[in-house]
Each structure stands twice: as structure tokens, then as C-alpha cells.
Symmetry: D2
Subunit: 326 residues, 4 copies
């Protein structure tokens, strides 16, 4: 398990429910629906919960809406305020400089979420003595998009750790495009956690985890699945295809039905491995992403940058959405 | 049939071979292997051939090598000279101004091939009286990347036709990223034809064909499949998965074997349609592309721009590869 | 006179005032100050006025504020509404498709104003049957940044005229970065006219005028001086230097005073020509621009794109500033 | 004295020549002309020389040609080999990882030299076990463009020092666009030194010197003046103007002649300060750059990146110019 996915935290917590629908010791779950936007929070509060879940103690929040990937400004503004509130709650009591890290590759569209957020947050650390006219309540904020190893030759974690040593921020906020585990999650969920991020999740490969243990300061990670690995996609798609075939054309399937059921009951990880082995010699390492990914990453970076601006800078409020961003 | 794929011309010609391995009337096929790079040419030379093939009369050339998608400069240089030779042969006798059109979306990596080529060809039309020092044998060449309808609101064909009316070139060369029909073709083939291009093939949707009929001048199209539609990909991958399963674990497959064979024998187009129906409600319109697509498009645009420079400007030769490109 | 500058219209009108402070026949002038933002309108209403002014009949509006070039969101929003109102008034009664043309070179910062505006206006022409959720009152709008001749080999006017023939818009809005005639105007004035634009004003050279005569439809031009020619700058700066020296150190100047006065009284155009002759062999063609030009062009493109969105799309109003722009 | 300019080293050394044309103790000067390209080397070899020159001990090399700013590929290739040779000599005996730092602002054209070089050098550090086909003699090389404080809120030196601590390179090569002290130097000289660089020279403000003292490893700096401060430009231009006026129209100048001579004899620094005071209230902080700066920075970044590739990677030679750069 190389990535800490908040959605998996939710799924895992549900699998671990006891007979009465309660959750296991050390795990607390909270779900609510705000105007059609689902917000799920899993808290792992003790070592027993962490061991059972196989995850670090902390918060795993998922904000989910199919409208994220659609040109719907009103819903996007609603999501901005939800993300702002949750972000503010996670960093309550942390004052001082914020360092925003935009992970990913500026020149590969679905991996450019982090760099795009960096270009949209309100940078203030260097002008605290000479702030823009009419703005109060700003705190020092700085940001860097360190690039990816394929273009710099340097592991992202090396750049960030060096930077933290010199900037000495009170808080790191890392943004990354993720590889989804299920096609249904692509561009539909924003994932937020105070347990940091283990890069390598997205399109590129970035290995050293960015978390409090490695960096010495709290690390908030905001991730959005924008791609899915091609083998995972093909396996999920095959499942949907065969399931639908069995339902709609049982005669055509005939004696193949039990085979389809056997396939369905296989472990996902086994199927993924077999699919990978089957397609890899032909195609190598591929990913799947929506045709409109360019616009979607624009909307997502806008949502996340606005939420960071509002949660970090007390002087920026809901009516200021997009106001300091051009 | 909305796209004119040169590879399909080859496949189709092979299906239409007569019993003795000869081709049908009006279709000529030529294959050769130059240092491991496959070059296939299909010529449709009369109406009967065009009718049988369902394609316009003209040349369909495919240059194919798995090394295109790998960082192998020596093979890329070999491909540049092959592409140059074939391009030069297709435009033999056409003198005067060349207009290069880079189709596609600059901001979506696998669709940015055309705009990247435009930024790398040697533009001379505006400086024919004041050419760079030391260069002879240049002809007037101009270039435009007209963008995609989603970003401009204008159909590409409208921009190009208007431009041709005013620039009055002797030749149009259009470059586009294509959607492959098979995963095995992605980033492995460069397709060249003198019958024009029907945009809408790639990631975006661009409808009016760019060809001699519409533009009034010869149109050379250079296309490279850089993506594959997600449903086609999933169908191909399912086929590979089930085939491999049947071979390697016949016991597990058991009575499912005949079902798998039935699936294999279905028409591709039926399977694609069924796959599309199965996955579309979940994922919408997606495409598949390699993780290293950023680098690959860089290599491909370099190969194509060098070949255009060498084929169009007589003063640029093999030892000048990359020399006028920065 | 190669460029139609609205500011020059104002200056010229003032020079042509009669003894009683009235303006000459055929020229009407209107000035007002809205919260410190100066808005000047010159109307040339008949042939006699046009002949006296040496300019086409039409409106020349200048919006001027030193805060344009400063990070002052509140003033920028005020300017957006002033520009919107003036733009709306100029195009009153014109319905139908709008074509926005962003002149200039995307890759030279002070010349990138036009292309940046194109990327920020709300493009709707291709989706009139499927508009974004919650938006009414949109009209068909399309946009293109045709690039500059140095990068395409094609004169801008050729691209635009071809496009207008095929798109058949009811209105063209052209945006361009201009070269100022005085250093005091750089990044301080937004100039608006319904008489079109004669490219060649800015950093590049683009020759065919875009106006109703050439394009067959009304052409609104929006220009902002973002650079000043180096010779003009040096001449103005020399004037300031010598003037200040004469005032502050009359003893040091001594008998040079009358020489300084002679210089001051020379025609500007003579001084510019002499300065050009003096510096050109050393430096060639140079321009002057502020160090913070990157941010300023970002602010300016935001102001102009918001005003175009609000003036053209009736459904977008003041509270929607920046709302559809990401 | 905030910047270490190699050209100033040359000028200063000449001013310090003794009566017989010899140089002062501790300073060695070497000039040669290679096919019209001037190469000047100043070596400060002891403390006495350093004190007299007001500069750190080390090498200051200037490569100068008016053809740098012109589209002349043959001369550019000559300059590449000269720069390669000088660079190789400066780093003789230094083995191990090279870290290339591209200073400056990617989005302001004349300040984008450093980031453009970073995107063109051959990055190998992350693939030393899996190098491109057919390449030997590569050493580990990594690169970062850390951005400018105005966009990140972080001083460049903080990013670089942190990075050096973790990457532990054997050598840092820093590239920066500089502000020239004289208009005649813009885009005509490439400056190379092994004494490091004091950022703040160019368009932005970057303060901590990058040198062996601060970073703990040898630092090679490569700088090119691409702009000149507007006040310096105006002062120089005024001097040229008045000088030419006095020569060509002595009658018009009349009694102003002695005033012009007085002005000419003033200290440059006094004149610059007075010019700054005269123009600053009107225009603020401005710079001057050539109209064709976009192309010139492309050529310069190509020259420098090729020279770094050839000097650092033994396997890349003169016939490989541009070969690994796309």
C-alpha cells in the first residue's frame, strides 16, 4: 500500500463495521450531504484503529460530487466553501508561515494540478511589510512547484525537505494529482488529510513521503484523482462489460455465465496483475483520463487555490472568490 | 468511416488480396524494411480501387518503429530521413509557398503534436528578402496552429479555409495527433497521405475535411496516433486478458472457453459499441495514453518538423538536423 | 501617422480649441472623473472634424488611472465597470456573433496582452445549444490569437480577414498592446475606439488595418500602451534630466541654460529622429517596459476580458467579475 | 558593488595597467580573437590583486560577438565550442554530480534565460542505471529553475542552499540573465566565472550570493546581459545624442558646448543617480530590451545548454550540437 487514499479510508472503515453498524475501536466516521455534495470524514484516533486500518492516525476527508467535472460555477463555489471549512478546521491553532507545494508535472495536463494551484494562491511571505491595498488578515504564504524527477533529475522530497529546513514554515500544504483506484472516482472527489502524502501516486514517480515525520512540521495533503492506471481501468471496464452482457444477453453468454461469476469473485489485485501482464508487452505504462481534462484541471486548481486562500488568509472571504487570482 | 488512416489502407489492402497474393485492381502495395523501420505504401490508382477500398485515390504511407516512443536519437534520425524522402516524393513538382497547419490543442499534451511542429518548422515566407545568414534554397513557408473549437468557438476548417483564400499557398501540410484504432499503434507509427485529413480523429472534434476538394490546393496530412479511445482500449485489453487466461489457465477457464472464443469472433465494432455502452455512464468520454507522453510528443514533433524542413527547404540537409530549430 | 491613438485624439482636440475654450466644428469632447479614474471621450462627428484632426470619424475613449499598474483590486473592479459601460454604449444595437481577436506575441510579455485576453473571455459560439449551467443571456462569442508575422510568416490582417469571411461575425473586438508616445502613459491608460486599429503599434509589425472598411463589419479596438520605443523614452528622459538640472543646479548649468531651452523648444519628432540616429548603431531596435510587466499584463487582461464578458453577454453582471474566468 | 561582472573585471584591469602596459600584481589578462569572436580572460591570482580589483580571486571570462544577437547558426556553433572549452577548463578535475540552477522568471522574456537553459540540458542523475541508447560518458546532472521571489515568496538562495544540502553535488552551474551596465553589451557577451553569482543583477531581486562560501561547493556562473536599467540607458543615450549634436551641428550647440563637455566628464554613477531621480516619479522601475528578445533568448539558451552538455558529459561532442535537445 503505497498511497494514503482518504476514500479507501472510508471504504475500509465500512468493511470493518461490526454487526450493529458501529465502527471498530479507534475509528470514527462522519458523513453528511450538503446540497448534493457528499462529505465523508474518517478519524483514526488511536493505535488500535491505525493498526486495524493500516493507516496513520489522523483525518481523512473526502468531498465528492459529479459536478466537479462539469462547468457548474455555482456548485464549484459551494465546494470551495466546504473545502475551506474543512481545511481551516484541520489547521486550527497553527499560526505562522504556510508553504504550499504543488507536486506534479506542469507539462502533462492531468498531472499539472499542483503547479496550477501554486500559480493561483496569494503569495505574501515576501511582501508582509507592503501588502496589496485594502487587504488585512493575510499571513505569510509561499509556494513552489518543484517539478518531477524526469525533468529535474532530483527527487521531489529532496527539494521539499531542503526548502523546509530554510523557510521553516509552520505548515506545509501539498497538492497533487492522484491515480484513482476506481474509474468512478476520476475528477469527482477532492481528498484532504493531515497525515501527509506519499508521492508516486500520480502520473510520475516521487518517492519520499511528505509528512510530519520527514519534514518536522504538519503536512496537509490535498489530492484529486485525475487519471486511472490503464490496467485497472481495463479490468474495471471488463467487469462492467461482462456483467452487462450476462444481464442483457444471457442466451449469448450461455455456459460462460459461471466463468463470468468466477472472474467477478476474484480479488481485484489478482485481476489487475493479470491484466497488467496481458497488456504490458504491447503498451507499456499507460493511463486513462477524460477528454476534457484540460478544463477540469483548470476548475479543480481554481477550487483548491481559492480554498487555500480563504482558509489561510483570514482577510479573504466567500465574496472574494476568484478576486485575487489572475 | 470518418478518418482516413493509412494503416487501415494497408490492412484493408491485405484483406482484399486475391488467392495468389496479388492485390485487387487499382490497388498497389509496397513494403520495405530499412534498418528495422517498416515502411508501407498503398497506392489507390483508379476508381475501382477507390470503390473497393472505400477511400480516396492517392498515397497512404505508414512508417512504423517501436523505437519512435523510446529515447533513441539514432533511430529518430533514420526516421527523419525516411519521412523526408517520402514527403519529398509526394510533393514533387509542387513549387511555391507552403502553409503548415498544426491541428490540435496546445494545452492537452497528447493533442499538442501539431502546435509543437508549428513552433519548430523554419518560417521564411515573411523574410524571403532577408534570409538567415548562410542559408540557400529556402522556399516561402508559413505556419499556424489554429487551436481547437473548445477554446476558440471556431471550427478549425473555417480558420484554415479563410487563411488559404488569402495566403494562396501552393501546398498545405497538416499535422495532427490521431486516435488509434488499436493500442499497439500508439506512438509507433507516422502516417502520411496526399489525400488530406478529416479532423475529428484526435482528442478534440474538428469536422470539415482539409483536402484538395475543400481547400483548392494539394493537402499532405501527417498524423501520429498518440491516444486510443478508452472503450477501444478496454475491449482490446479484455481480449488480451481472456486469451492469455485461456492459454495459461485452461482449467480455471473450464466451460468458459467457448464463451471466450465466441467473444473473440465477434465483430470489433459490435464489441466496441457494447463496451462503450457498459462504461460510458460511469466515465464519459475518456482516452488512454502513455505515462511518458510529454517526452514522446517532443520527439515526434522534432522528427516531423525536421522532415518538413528538409523536404521543403532544399538548402537544409541531413547534417542540418535540429540545426535551425530553437 | 500610422496609429490611431485615442489619447492623441484628446491632445489634438485640445490644441485645436478656439479662443473661448470651445472645440472646432465636428469635434466633441467630454471628460469626467469617476472616483479618481479619468474618462475622456472625443467624438469626431463630421468630415470637417475628421480632416482637422487627421483621424477617422468615430469615438476615441481613454480610461486613465495610475492604479491600473498597481495591485489594487478595488480600483480594477471600478475600471472594469467603466470599460464595460463604454464598450456597451459603442456596440449598442449590434446583435449577433462577436469575434474577439487578440493581437500580439504570446511569448513576449508586454506584447502578450491580446492573447491573454483571448484565453480569458467566455467562448460560447460552439455551445449555444448546450450552455453552462445557470447562465442566461449569452450571445455567440468566438476568439482567436492569430500570432505575429515573425512566428507564423503570415500577416495578421490576412488571418483575420479570412476568418471574418467564414465566421461572418456581427462585430470584431481587437485587443492589442501598444507602444506609447510618452513614457507617462505606459500601463496607465486603456484606449477604446470604434474606428478600428492599425496594427504595427506594438512590439511587432502587423500592417493591414483592422477596420470596417477592410473587414466589412464594425471593429472595436481596445489598446493599452505597455511599452515605449527606446528612442522616445531616451528623449523624454533627457528632457526631464536637463529640466531638473536647470532648476536645481543653475550654477552648474551656467551658460548651458539657453542650449537646454533651445533643446526643449525643438519639435518632438525632430528630437526623436536625432536620438534614433544617435543610439541605433549601438543598440538597434529596443523598447522600454516596467520590471513588473508580467503582473501588470495579467491585471490588464483580466480587466479587459471581464469587461468584454459583461458588455457582450447580458447574463454576466458586476457580481460575476472573474466568475467565469479560469 | 553587488554584481561580479566579468566585463568589468576586464575594464578594471585595463585601468590598473602600469605605465608599460603591464598589469598590476596578482592580475593576469589574456585576450584572443577566434574568427571574430573576442575572448577575454582576467585571472585574479592573489589577495593583492583581489584587493586592487575589489573582486574575489578567480577567473572572469567574457565571450563577445555582435553575432550572438543575430540569426547566424554558424557563429553560434563557434561560440558553443568556445564556451564549452572555457567551461571545461574551469571545472577540470571536478568529478561527480552537477546541479544546474536556472535563475530568473520564466514568464518575463528577457529574464527567462536560466529557466530555458534548464529545460534544454541533458538530465541524467535519475537514470544513471538506464541511460539513453548509444550514449556513453555521461555524468549525473540535475537541474532546477527555482523561480523568483515575486512568484514564490521564497528567496532563491534559500531554495538552492536547501537543495545543495540534500543533493550534495560536486559542482553548481548557475545561469542568469543580467542587467548590463552599458547598452552596448546587451545580448553581445556571455560572461563566465568560477567565483559565483550575486543574484539581484537581472530583472528580479534575488539576494543571497551563490558561491563556494555559501554553498560549500564550486559555483560556476554563466550570465548574459539581456536588459539595461532604464536610467542607465537614458543616460548613455543622452551622452550619445549630445555628443553627436556637438559634432554635427556645432553652430546650433553654440555656448552649450562647454556644458555638454561638463556633462560628459561627470562620473557615470552621479549621472545615473540624477537620471533616476528625474524619471522615477513618472515611470518607476523600468528596463530596456531589444524587440527581438524572444528569439535572442532562444538562441542564447541553446548556446549555453549545448556548452553545458558538451563540457559536462564527455560523450557529447561537437557533432552532437542540438542532438539531445528537444
Amino acid at each position: 500500500m503505497e498511497n494514503i487514499y482518504t476514500d479507501l479510508a472510508l471504504e475500509m472503515a465500512e468493511q470493518l463495521q461490526d454487526g450493529d453498524g458501529g465502527y471498530i475501536d479507534g475509528v470514527e466516521v462522519d458523513n453528511y450531504d450538503q446540497n448534493g455534495i457528499m462529505v465523508n470524514t474518517v478519524r483514526i484516533v488511536n493505535e488500535s484503529g491505525a493498526a486495524a486500518m493500516g493507516k496513520a492516525q489522523g483525518h481523512y476527508i473526502t468531498i465528492e460530487s459529479p459536478e466537479i467535472k462539469v462547468n457548474n460555477v455555482a456548485v464549484h463555489e459551494e465546494i470551495i466553501t466546504i473545502l475551506t471549512d474543512n481545511l481551516a478546521r484541520l489547521v486550527q491553532g497553527v499560526d505562522g508561515t504556510v508553504l504550499v507545494i504543488g507536486l506534479g508535472n506542469r507539462s502533462v495536463t492531468p498531472d499539472s494540478l499542483g503547479p496550477q494551484v501554486v500559480s493561483k494562491v496569494l503569495i505574501t511571505r515576501h511582501i508582509m511589510d507592503d501588502l496589496p491595498v485594502g487587504l488585512d488578515g493575510l499571513r505569510p504564504l509561499c509556494a513552489l512547484a518543484p517539478g518531477v524527477m524526469g525533468m529535474t533529475g532530483i527527487e521531489t522530497g529532496e527539494v521539499v525537505r531542503g526548502l523546509v529546513n530554510h523557510v521553516k514554515p509552520a505548515l506545509v500544504v501539498a497538492i497533487d494529482a492522484l491515480a484513482a483506484r476506481k474509474i468512478s472516482r476520476i475528477n469527482q472527489t477532492i481528498q484532504l488529510t493531515d497525515t501527509g502524502i506519499s508521492p508516486g501516486a500520480g502520473v510520475g514517480n516521487r518517492r519520499m513521503p511528505l509528512n510530519k515525520e520527514n519534514l518536522g512540521v504538519p503536512v496537509i495533503a490535498i489530492g484529486v484523482p485525475t487519471v486511472v492506471d490503464a490496467a485497472i481501468f481495463a479490468t474495471d471496464a471488463m467487469g462492467l462489460f461482462l456483467h452487462q452482457l450476462a444481464e442483457e444477453a444471457p442466451d449469448a453468454v450461455g455456459s460462460g455465465l459461471s466463468f463470468i461469476q468466477t472472474l467477478e469473485n476474484l480479488e481485484d489485485s489478482d485481476k489487475y496483475a493479470a491484466m497488467h501482464a496481458a497488456i504490458d508487452p504491447t503498451v507499456g505504462n499507460m493511463f486513462v483520463t477524460p477528454k476534457e481534462i484540460g478544463e477540469v484541471v483548470g476548475w479543480l486548481s481554481n477550487i483548491i487555490a481559492n480554498a487555500i486562500n480563504m482558509a489561510m488568509h483570514k482577510g479573504i472571504e466567500r465574496e472574494d472568490i476568484n478576486r485575487f487570482m489572475y
